[in-house]
Structures are given as structure tokens and as C-alpha cells.
């Protein structure tokens, strides 16, 4: 039994080490405290609401979020806007619908059940409007990038003047966290760009953090219930394991002293 655990922990340690050396090759990302990390991690409700504001006012002019619906904004574990607020948000967007009984397409105000309205009709339109680069859909973006939230958070603050010797084409910008350092998205954030309704100062750092939190939620809308259920499941398993361990001892004591 002792041997077993020694070898088992060795293998776990080895795989842990190889994972971390894997990560260590990349640039050091900016660090911040994320409220959703850890065993009991939860989203900061206010940060999600502010993050949504940054998304709508800044990002959404180019980036779609095709997997989110307006109803999600009012759901538990999300920004938790009230139903009325979410309805009002939805209604502020024009949604293309149809065909109606005359066979015509028409626009109407959005409803809770509608998906987030996309800034472009299709990928080609998005590319044409952005110098050939497609602004990726942001629904699962933090899960689709190696560094996750830390990468997005850093990237938003990573714009710099290019070092001497680096020449940039028109419409290409220098970002120290971007793979290859060249990015087609210009720096979007500047201090005071949005006016937060809750009075928080809209520094670049604050907006980056808020919008990244929002993106984490959009990628993992059930993160809070996952954490809660996980804690319960693991506590349950540990208690059951201990009980089974003692039953095992008891049963084996009929023939052996050691299991």
C-alpha cells in the first residue's frame, strides 16, 4: 500500500512537472486575482455586469458572441440582471426575423430568447471590414487560448510601441503578449472609455479585468454550479471512502491483519 502511493504520487508529480514546464515556455502574463478560481470560486456579479457593458460598448462592434442569448444575462450564476433589465437590453437591439406571412424579412426589437445580435452578417463581411482579419467569436474565447483568462487580460493591456527594428504593416499593431507580437486589432481600451453606472473608475486595468471576467462566464456559464457540485461530490466521496475503508478493514480482519 505504501509503495503503491509512493509510485502513484511520483507519476502525478511527473505529469504535473511536465505540464508546468510546458507552460513556462510562454511569456509571463500579467496576474490578477480572479474571484472564480479555487474550490469555491464564484463570479463577481458587479464585474460581470461591468464586463457586459464593456463588451457591448467596445468589443461588440466587431466581435460576435453567437452562443449567448439575452436570457442568459438574467440566469443564475451569470451577471444576474433582473428579468426586466434583460428584457430591456434585448429590446434595445434590432433583430432580423422572418419570413412573415407575406414572405418578407423584417426587423423587430429583440426578445430574451434571441441570440446576441452579430455585428456582421457572415465571416466574409467581418473580414472585409477588418483588413482581412476575422475578429473571432468571443463566446468560448478564453477556453480557446492557451493562457486562458490571464492571456486575454494581458493582451488587452499589452500594446506597446514596437521595439527598434520591428516594422509593422498598415493595420498591424505591436502587442507583447500576442503570439508573434503582431496583432490586427488596434488598442481598444483607454482610461475612462466607458462610464460605469456603478461609479467604478474605468481604468484600462479595470475594464480588462471586467471584460475578461465576462468572457470567462460566457465560456463557462455553469462554472458556479460546477464548483458547488464538485465540492459536494468530493466531500461525499471522501466520507464514503473512509467508511468503505473501515468496512474493508473489518472484513479482512477475519483472515488478515493488514490489507
Amino acid at each position: 500500500m505504501k509503495n503503491f502511493f509512493k509510485i502513484f504520487s511520483f507519476i502525478i508529480l511527473f505529469s504535473g512537472l511536465s505540464l508546468s514546464t510546458h507552460a513556462a515556455e510562454k511569456v509571463e502574463y500579467l496576474k490578477t486575482d480572479w474571484s472564480f478560481k479555487g474550490l469555491f470560486g464564484k463570479f463577481d456579479r458587479a464585474a460581470l455586469q461591468r464586463g457586459y457593458q464593456v463588451y457591448t460598448e467596445v468589443c461588440s462592434s466587431c466581435h460576435s458572441m453567437k452562443y449567448l442569448s439575452y436570457r442568459n444575462l438574467a440566469e443564475k450564476g451569470g451577471p444576474e440582471f433582473s428579468i426586466e433589465q434583460a428584457k430591456a437590453i434585448a429590446a434595445s437591439f434590432e433583430v432580423k426575423d422572418g419570413p412573415n406571412s407575406d414572405g418578407d424579412m423584417f426587423t423587430r426589437p429583440g426578445r430574451l430568447s434571441d441570440k446576441f445580435v452579430m455585428p456582421y452578417d457572415n465571416v466574409q463581411a467581418a473580414q472585409a471590414a477588418n483588413g482581412g482579419a476575422y475578429p473571432p467569436d468571443m463566446s468560448v474565447l478564453v477556453k480557446a487560448r492557451g493562457g486562458g483568462v490571464d492571456y486575454i487580460y494581458s493582451l488587452l493591456q499589452g500594446y506597446e510601441d514596437p521595439p527598434a527594428g520591428v516594422t509593422l504593416d498598415d493595420g498591424v499593431y505591436y502587442n507583447k503578449y500576442m503570439y508573434g507580437n503582431k496583432i490586427k486589432m488596434a488598442n481598444q481600451l483607454s482610461d475612462g472609455l466607458v462610464e460605469y453606472s456603478d461609479g467604478t473608475t474605468a481604468s484600462v486595468e479595470q475594464m480588462s479585468k471586467d471584460v475578461t471576467t465576462f468572457l470567462m462566464w460566457s465560456a463557462e456559464p455553469h462554472l458556479e454550479s460546477r464548483h458547488q457540485m464538485g465540492f459536494k461530490a468530493i466531500v461525499y466521496l471522501i466520507i464514503l471512502t473512509i467508511l468503505v475503508y473501515f468496512s474493508m478493514k473489518r472484513i479482512w480482519s477475519r483472515i488478515e491483519t493488514e490489507v
Binding site: 474550490l39 480557446a144 475503508y245
Partner: protein, 420 residues
């Protein structure tokens, strides 16, 4: 199979059992005499059965919501993650379950290697096991393609292209596999069908694997043949059932930790980008459990020979009962083999590590040395060791070393050599 005639007590039981001996089978399974010195490395058989059933059950539910279509597969996975009740839980169990399945199967295989469980009279159990392992790799690869992310698409492209290395008919085979001239919708639909089929093939083989096991009975850490039933054995129920149950619960804690707290750590970020035939990812890497073989594939400069080397690396295991010439099963009594065993473990871990790295410079060199050593171990070291190694005296029975019967060890050794 059974050591004593079993007769059901009730009249109906007897009537039924005479027609379909299910009760005899149940009785055999509960009474099955098991060596009492089995350690925790032996619990992974039960754990693997649990993994297989978990994959089948979660897979069934996922298949109810998944859409196998190149334009809709990625969206349907996100639909499962967001809108299906507990869909995120089912999918994360299924995705991490594959990794846990391989973790358990590697421990199970390396346990066999250490204790010589593949040796006579258990060769058939071992070969069925290798077939199961091959099917597991096929199922895992096919399953990884289904979410239709970037790694799905490009992984499928790389692996199916391996068949083009076959002379003359290679290109034709690849086109036939794809159902077209590139990985596309026909590829996805057939991969889904096969991914659904293979687990049931595995299930059938698992039944054969256990059936074949129940003929000679379990090997054990001492590696000697034991009389069954005897004071060296315990009935499967309750002794082994509770011990397997305890180990399974410990395993489930690790499993739950991955599912609930780091569900994506074992996957690749690129697979959350929808498949795009026009954009190739910077590094195409398979899942962690295939990395050692990927390293072997890439360490050979020639494509065909690389594929041959990779396949041989797996198929060589099937020949293991004949490559290992030693009559002693357990490494406990083989001081030299024990050291080579741990070198092999390190070798495979190193192959796994370099498999995840770009195939260039030092990594490529290490991969080549490790690949060469892998084959050296099976083709040269094992056969030679069997002839040259001076093994330790083995006890007559399991109870003996516990009772400290050292005077008898010499006779045991003599008896063993007589048996040869």
C-alpha cells in the same frame, strides 16, 4: 470452472438454472477464489470496467444531443455545454473519462509487465488486452474528432494521412477513409458511427478477457501458481469486492477533481476553435495518452518506416509472452529485470514528454534514443535477461513468506527448477 456443484435453493431457481445457468455464473463470480495477497495495483481491472461503463452511459446521453454534421457539430457541443440540463457535467465526465480510462489502462498494463502476468498460462488474456487497448486508442481518436474543433480536424487529417504511407494503394485508402478528397462531413459521420460501435466491441472483449482470466485465475505479486481454493485464496465476494470498491472510490476522487475543477486541462485550447480547413494550428499534438507513440512516429525520418515503427511499438507487446524468456513471473524475484523495468517506465514517460514538444533539435535526438531503447528493451534485453539473470529463490506458497518460512526457500527453488 466451478470447484463444487452449485444447486439453487428455491425450486424456481433450480428450474431456471437448469435452463439458463445464470445463478451458477453468479455463484462462480462471488465464490471465485482470488489470491489473498493481491495489492492495490490489482484493483485497476475493476476500475477499468467502471471507466468503460461510465464512457458508454455518458456517451449515450451525449449522442442524444450531438449532431454529426460538419456545420453543426461544434454548435451542438456548445448547445450541450449551455442548454442541455447538466450537459456540461455529462460532457466533462466523458471527455475527462477518456483520460482517466487511459491512466488506469497504463497502470494496468505496467502492473502486468512488473508481475509477469502475461506469461503462461495467461497469454490469451494478455493478447485480448492488447486488442482492447488498440480499440481504446481508436475510440479515443475518433471521439476527439467529433467536437469538430481545430485539433479534431487537423488531428484527423494527420492520422488518416498516415495510411498514405502504404505503397501503391495508400492514397486510395486515404480517400476511401475520408469519403472524399479531404477530411469533411462524410469523414465526421463515419467517425461518429465507428466511435459509437467500438465501445461495444470493447465490452464484448472485456467479457472474453475476464472469462479467460477465470480459467487459470489471477496472477499475484509473488507470481507463483497457487492451489484454488486454498488458504492462499479468498472468495471474490466480499474480500476483493470491498477492496476494489475502496480503490475505485479513491480513483473517483481524482476523477471528480478533474471534472469539477480543471475540466479542460487535459484537452487542447485549439479544440475550442471551430474546425477551419484553411488555417493549420502551429503545433498539432494528439491527446496526452497517445504522445509516446506520436514521439516514435516522428523520430523516424521516413514516413512509411515511422508508421511501421509506431505500429510495431504496440504490436510488439502482443509477442511479449514469448519475448520474455524468464520462467519467473514476478519482478520481485528478478533483481535485474526490476531495474530494466523502471528504466522502461522512465523511457515511456520521456517519450510522452518529447511527443508533446516540437520535433526538432535536442527533443528529436532524445526521441530517437528513447525509441531505440524501447525496442531494445523488448527485442534484446528481455530475451537475454531470461537466460542470464540469476533470480532470487521463490517461495512455495503465498502464506510462506509471511510466516517467515525461510528454511523452505531453498527447497522451493529446487522444486521450481525441477518443474522446468
Amino acid at each position: 470452472m466451478s470447484d463444487h456443484e452449485y444447486t439453487p435453493k428455491s425450486k424456481f431457481g433450480k428450474w431456471f438454472n437448469d435452463r439458463l445457468p445464470l445463478l451458477t455464473l453468479a455463484n462462480h463470480l462471488t465464490d471465485y477464489p482470488t489470491p489473498k495477497n493481491l495489492n492495490y495495483w490489482w484493483t485497476f481491472g475493476g476500475i477499468l470496467t467502471f471507466c468503460l461503463i461510465t464512457q458508454i452511459v455518458t456517451g449515450l446521453v451525449l449522442a442524444m444531443h450531438y449532431i454529426a454534421h460538419a456545420d453543426m457539430a461544434f454548435d451542438s457541443v456548445e448547445h450541450i455545454m449551455r442548454d442541455v440540463n447538466y450537459g456540461w457535467l455529462i460532457r466533462y465526465i466523458h471527455a475527462n473519462g477518456a483520460s482517466m480510462f487511459f491512466l488506469a489502462v497504463y497502470i494496468h498494463i505496467f502492473r502486468s509487465l512488473f508481475y509477469g502476468s502475461y506469461k503462461a498460462p495467461r497469454e490469451i488474456i494478455w493478447i485480448i488486452g492488447i486488442i482492447i487497448y488498440l480499440l481504446m486508442m481508436a475510440a479515443a481518436f475518433l471521439g476527439y474528432v467529433l467536437p469538430w474543433g481545430q485539433m479534431s480536424f487537423w488531428g484527423a487529417t494527420v492520422i488518416t494521412n498516415l495510411f498514405s504511407a502504404i505503397p501503391l494503394v495508400g492514397e486510395g485508402i486515404v480517400t476511401w477513409l475520408w469519403g472524399g478528397y479531404s477530411v469533411d462531413n462524410p469523414t465526421l459521420t463515419r467517425f461518429f458511427t465507428l466511435h459509437y460501435l467500438i465501445p461495444f466491441l470493447i465490452l464484448g472483449l472485456v467479457v472474453l478477457h475476464i472469462w479467460a482470466l477465470h480459467v487459470p485465475g489471477n496472477n499475484n505479486p509473488v507470481g507463483i501458481d497457487i492451489k484454488k481454493p486454498s488458504k492462499d485464496t479468498v472468495p471474490f465476494h466480499p474480500y476483493i469486492v470491498i477492496k476494489d470498491g475502496f480503490a475505485l472510490l479513491m480513483f473517483m476522487i481524482v476523477f471528480a477533481f478533474f471534472v469539477f475543477y480543471t475540466p479542460n486541462i487535459l484537452g487542447h485550447a485549439d479544440n475550442y476553435i471551430e474546425a477551419n480547413p484553411l488555417v493549420t494550428p502551429a503545433h498539432i499534438v494528439p491527446e496526452w495518452y497517445l504522445l509516446p507513440f506520436y514521439a516514435i512516429l516522428r523520430s523516424v525520418p521516413d514516413k512509411l518506416l515511422g508508421v511501421v515503427a509506431m505500429l510495431s511499438a504496440i504490436l510488439i507487446l502482443a509477442a511479449l509472452p514469448w519475448l520474455d524468456t524468464s520462467k519467473i513471473r514476478s519482478a520481485v524475484f528478478r533483481p535485474l529485470y526490476r531495474q530494466f523495468y523502471w528504466i522502461l517506465v522512465a523511457d515511456v514517460l520521456i517519450l510522452g514528454y518529447v511527443g508533446a514538444m516540437p520535433a526538432e533539435g535536442l527533443y528529436l535526438l532524445v526521441a530517437r534514443v528513447a525509441t531505440a531503447y524501447y525496442f531494445l528493451h523488448f527485442l534484446v534485453i528481455l530475451p537475454v535477461l531470461g537466460w542470464k539473470e540469476k533470480t532470487l529463490p521463490i517461495p512455495l506458497s503465498i502464506t510462506e513468506p509471511i510466516l517467515g518460512g525461510s528454511p523452505n526457500l531453498a527447497t522451493a527453488k529446487n522444486k521450481e527448477s525441477l518443474n522446468k
